[in-house]
């Protein structure tokens, strides 16, 4: 594959214990682009991000970031590569024993020798970008869900990474923050020359924001294309997802024995 792809996921299969979560996934993220991964809850999006970040290893296939196979790196090499990655966790994962400010400054203090005065300016700039400079001294327990997510976002971009992974950046945000964060993701990507992967359920926001979309269902890539192609495509499952229809080819329920039987069973 060409080196113009920052992330290449090739034929990856992954299972937690017995249960297969991803089946022969293929996906590329070209340098400088913002790519969305969409799909129903539980279809394996977070798992895919973990594989790209090297937190999990595929059972089969290969994940390459910047041309290097993640599953063949030593621990030191993996850590070196991760310094250039930023990940927003689905549930924020802020360090609860540190203030918002210290959370954002964490990586700067760990990985750079910058003087504290400069770190202060940089961290405040990141907090300003997510609109929370005023909350710098609050502890995570004092933040609302949406605020915590924005602080986590500021923390994940602290070192201006070349690859950004956002796991559900929009959940729990009010419409104003949602628009602002959407623009921020785009702006960061373009001004830093970074590459971004956005996992989201927010179809409307995503189709405005991104360059390319991968739509997954039950561990497979069902469809991929530009936002225009997505809108134009008549794929029923995709239609159902985009317009949020409850009935369609995609089941709402996690696989289970028949409801009636389950209730009647003793």
């Amino acid at each position: 594959m060409a080196t113009s792809n920052l992330v290449e996921v090739e034929d990856v299969t992954f299972s937690y214990d017995e249960r297969q979560v991803l089946k022969n996934i293929n996906l590329v993220v070209p340098k400088g682009r913002v790519v969305a991964i969409m799909g129903l809850s539980g279809c394996g999006k977070t798992t895919l991000l973990r594989l790209i970040g090297g937190a999990l290893r595929p059972n089969h296939g290969e994940v390459r970031v910047a041309g290097r196979a993640i599953n063949r790196l030593s621990d030191d090499e993996l850590f070196a590569l991760r310094r250039k990655m930023g990940m927003l966790f689905q549930f924020g994962a802020l360090f609860t024993d540190m203030s918002s400010f210290d959370n954002v400054a964490f990586q700067m203090r760990e990985h750079t020798n910058l003087p504290e005065s400069l770190i202060r300016d940089l961290a405040l700039m990141k907090l300003q970008a997510v609109g929370l400079r005023g909350a710098a001294d609050l502890m995570p327990s004092e933040l609302s869900g949406g605020m915590a997510r924005r602080v986590a976002l500021a923390r994940s971009i602290a070192l201006d990474p070349m690859l950004m992974m956002y796991d559900e950046p929009f959940t729990g945000l009010d419409p104003i923050s949602l628009g602002v964060i959407g623009q921020l993701i785009r702006r960061l990507n373009d001004s830093l020359g970074a590459t971004s992967i956005v996992v989201t359920h927010d179809v409307a926001e995503a189709l405005e924001l991104v360059d390319y979309v991968y739509y997954m269902s039950t561990g497979k890539v069902e469809f991929h294309g530009t936002p225009d192609q997505i809108r134009a495509a008549g794929l029923p499952s995709l239609r159902q997802f985009v317009y949020g229809e409850p009935d369609g080819p995609v089941p709402f329920h996690y696989p289970a024995p028949e409801y009636r039987q389950d209730l009647l069973a003793q």
Partner: protein, 265 residues
């Protein structure tokens, strides 16, 4: 019948291997990793100091008050026994030796396990359950170096100091009861103590005990936290296991250490 017994034996063996031998192996490997990654906890000593505050300084009150009470009880009980043999002037020796050799390290260790050990396990377990450790790893910071090692060393450093304070408070408590309350001669209380407490034999051995207990308790605490299933029940179970396992470890190690150290001159 023999089939059933064999079945039971097999189940028992599997339990022992899975629950104890296997976990012990993993825990030893974990200790090795912690020691290997301990650089930052000394190079950036403020990380460790912070944890010494949480594990050590915040345990001060409970340790010192308990030491005082235990010493007072020793004074009462010791006097009651000694006076039957007409040798109440060696009360100081009795109190001091009991504390320095035995009760100081053991009781301080047990208190430390339930006060600081459980807190360490709960904190690390919760950090794991809320993905803070995973997030740290994604930021290319090793949680063993950043979270585990400073807590481990803080415990190892705090424990001997706490045990020493426990003993000191205990001696003071014995003095209050023996000399002030009951009226044992003050001069003989102190001079007997000074004459018969040996630095190498008693103080150093007591210190070694408390150091070993500190290592055991903190090792168990950080390991249980790091190994806890990432759920509420997982963390609470791990916290309980820390207290139970480290208390048993302290008492068992105490038998071994006492047998090695004090065989009567």
């Amino acid at each position: 019948m023999t089939g059933r017994i064999a079945e039971l034996m097999r189940a028992l063996g599997a339990r022992i291997v899975n629950n104890w031998v296997w976990r012990l192996g993993v825990a030893i490997r974990f200790l090795w990793l912690t020691l290997r990654e301990s650089g930052p906890s000394f190079r950036r000593f403020h990380l460790t100091i912070r944890e010494i505050y949480f594990a050590g300084v915040l345990s001060l009150v409970v340790i010192m008050v308990s030491g005082l009470f235990v010493g007072m009880v020793l004074g009462l009980q010791g006097y009651d026994t000694l006076v039957r043999f007409g040798s109440s002037e060696v009360l100081g020796t009795l109190v001091a030796l009991t504390l320095v050799r035995e009760l100081g390290p053991v009781v301080a260790g047990l208190l430390f396990a339930s006060r600081a050990g459980s807190a360490i396990t709960a904190e690390i377990g919760l950090m794991k359950a809320t993905e803070q450790l995973a997030a740290m790893e994604m930021m290319a910071v090793d949680p063993i170096a950043r979270v585990v090692a400073p807590r481990f060393w803080a415990g190892v450093i705090s424990m001997p100091v706490l045990a020493a304070l426990f003993s000191a408070m205990g001696v003071f408590g014995g003095y209050l009861v023996g000399v002030r309350l009951i009226g044992v001669d003050e001069g003989s209380f102190w001079s007997q103590m000074q004459a018969s407490v040996d630095f190498r034999e008693d103080i150093v051995n007591g210190f070694i005990k408390s150091l070993v207990f500190g290592i055991a308790v903190t090792w168990i605490a950080v390991y249980e936290g790091y190994d806890a299933p990432p759920t509420a029940e997982g963390v609470s179970g791990a916290t309980t296991r820390t207290v139970v396992t480290s208390s048993l470890a302290i008492l068992a190690l105490d038998v071994v250490l006492t047998a090695l150290m004090f065989r009567g001159q």
